[in-house]
């Protein structure tokens, strides 16, 4: 039998190059809750500080007072009412015939606004997206479709109108508290944000509609509204109501 030293060498290399395989044999899990103050000595804190300081001067400005807690909830909540009311107020400055406002539930990003001073920073956290107000002229059939979507989502923040729903079907729509018979072919003016108007949050049916941009951020409409009113009171009206 012949001896092949090069072959042996190759075999040796091949064997040693072969990675040891490991398989998981047990696992352990933990979860840490992160809570603490600012440690001024940390490198991260030193890196962040200049960013924070230049934000603070602007963000810490108090623009008004909340007389009580505002809560984000479905199907309706005082925080959603606050935002949608500010949208409607801003829109009516341009078009007094604007009948209502719709904001997507996910457009509001804090679970509650506490009673007390309201700062610019808190409004930024409430409405962080740079979305602008847009007026939509929509046929009644589309408005109905929209209400159906809001019913399916178990409620979005709205202003100017209200409705009940049962099993994802919107019923008895009212405008300004009055029963309202939506005509499929009539046109209705609603203000919303450009994210939804461009088809976001399952609203692709709004995409083909013509849009009138109001060139104001939803957040700026909210800031203006609080600045003007000074004290804001929670409106607990259940604008979207679930019938069991």
């Amino acid at each position: 039998m012949k001896f092949y030293p090069h072959l042996l060498g190759f075999l040796f290399l091949w064997l040693t190059a072969c990675k040891t395989a490991y398989i998981p044999v047990s696992q352990h899990q933990e979860k840490y809750k992160i809570e603490s103050g600012i440690d001024s000595s940390s490198a991260i804190e030193r890196m962040l500080k200049p960013y924070r300081d230049s934000l603070s001067s602007r963000m810490n400005e108090v623009i008004g007072t909340a007389s009580d807690h505002f809560v984000k909830q479905k199907p309706s909540g005082s925080l959603g009412n606050l935002v949608s009311d500010a949208m409607l107020t801003a829109a009516r400055k341009t078009d007094p015939a604007c009948m209502g406002a719709v904001c997507n539930y996910g457009g509001i990003r804090i679970p509650q606004l506490s009673a007390g001073p309201v700062t610019v920073g808190r409004v930024f956290e409430m409405l962080p997206f740079d979305n602008e107000l847009v007026l939509l002229k929509l046929p009644g059939s589309t408005l109905r479709q929209w209400c159906k979507l809001m019913a399916k989502a178990e409620g979005w923040p709205i202003a100017g109108f209200s409705f009940n729903y049962r099993d994802s079907v919107a019923l008895s729509i009212r405008f300004d508290g009055q029963p309202f018979d939506i005509q499929d072919t009539a046109t209705y003016t609603i203000v919303t944000n450009d994210y939804i108007a461009n088809g976001g949050d399952q609203c692709s049916f709004l995409q083909p509609l013509s849009k009138i941009p109001l060139n104001i951020l939803v957040r700026d409409a909210m800031l203006n509204d609080i600045r003007k009113r000074k004290t804001i009171n929670p409106d607990l009206q259940e604008r979207i109501h679930k019938i069991p």
């Binding site: 395989a21 044999v25 352990h28 933990e30 809750k33 990003r109 962080p128 976001g200 949050d201 692709s204």
Partner: protein, 311 residues
């Protein structure tokens, strides 16, 4: 950390639990192991660099990167094989993002030495160019395998997977993202083509486990934990996956009480975890390995009730 010391600590930990609690920790380590990997993870941090303000709201004082850094540093002092991962939606939610467009977020994650992250829908809030600009501040890889970035500035910056070698262990990390249509305005994610995350993830996971011989495959997912309808989620991905060991999820801001344990197509255990949002929690999963053939694989894993630890 060596095994002896760990067992000693586990025994001390077990002694502290109340009599009604079963000492799961002892059980978990009552198996021979030669390698240990400590996986730390976050998701949906949403620009929450500072803790929530002390304004009486439910989350006041929670979160903040200074405290997170302190926690991670202390874990790294104990553990030599740590992986720090994020499942996306790094951006959007505090004025930091409105004014600095994600720069401090990326700098902080680099300073915390994140090993990999995937991208979420909100990471496109300033468009592809906005994300690209901030990725210059990130010194960790971004993984996604179900978006086709061809012809976009992200093409050269995103990778379908990354492989981390840790003391003989080979860890494959891939990423999957949610359908952008209807979630991200078209003009912000133009020319990114979404593909089925299950198909893409299985293909990459097979490649990592079989071709690249990874010992463990982690999928960073921004699909969301679960939905009422049939929309693809981490739960669905897990059921239909083959070579993924662990899904680190995001998007739905789900704070899981415990790691969700389910079965993959081969009826093997697969784990899903997600830890809420805003960096209020950091998840930790320790995996103990032994050098055995893959054919010997038995899904012998023990889930431990979660301990909440304040940093």
């Amino acid at each position: 950390m060596n095994r002896r010391r760990f067992i000693k600590q586990s025994a001390m930990g077990a002694a502290l639990v109340t009599a009604s609690q079963f000492p799961y920790e002892a059980l978990a380590t009552n198996t021979e192991w030669t390698r240990k990997l400590c996986i730390l993870h976050t998701n949906d941090v949403h620009s929450r660099l500072d803790p929530f303000p002390m304004d009486g709201s439910a989350n006041q004082g929670l979160g903040g990167v200074v405290a997170r850094e302190k926690l991670i540093r202390s874990i790294r002092e104990e553990e030599d094989q740590v992986l720090l991962l994020d499942a996306g939606d790094i951006f959007q939610g505090t004025p930091y993002f409105n004014f600095y467009k994600g720069e401090p977020e990326m700098k902080v994650m680099s300073m915390l030495r994140y090993d990999a992250a995937t991208i979420g829908n909100h990471d496109f809030d300033n468009g592809i160019d906005g994300l690209v600009k901030q990725m210059a501040h990130a010194d960790f890889p971004f993984v996604n395998c179900n978006y086709d970035f061809s012809g976009t500035p992200l093409e050269s910056l995103m990778q379908p997977y990354t492989i981390m070698k840790r003391k003989g262990l080979k860890i494959g990390i891939l990423g999957v993202g949610i359908a952008l249509n209807g979630l991200v305005p078209n003009h912000l994610c133009e020319n990114i083509v979404y593909h089925d995350p299950i198909v893409a993830a299985n293909e990459i996971a097979h490649f990592l486990a079989v071709k690249k011989k990874c010992d463990y495959v982690i999928c960073l997912s921004h699909l969301g934990f679960e939905y009422k309808d049939q929309k693809v989620s981490d739960k669905i991905l897990a059921k239909e996956s083959e070579y993924i060991n662990l899904i680190i999820g995001g998007h739905t801001h789900t704070l899981l009480e415990q790691v969700h344990i389910t079965k993959n197509v081969k009826n093997q255990d697969i784990f899903i975890n997600q830890v809420g949002w805003a960096g209020m929690h950091v998840g930790r999963i320790d995996i103990y390995f032994d050098n055995k053939n893959r054919s010997d694989y038995v899904s012998k894993m023990t889930a431990i009730p979660v301990k909440e630890t304040r940093a």
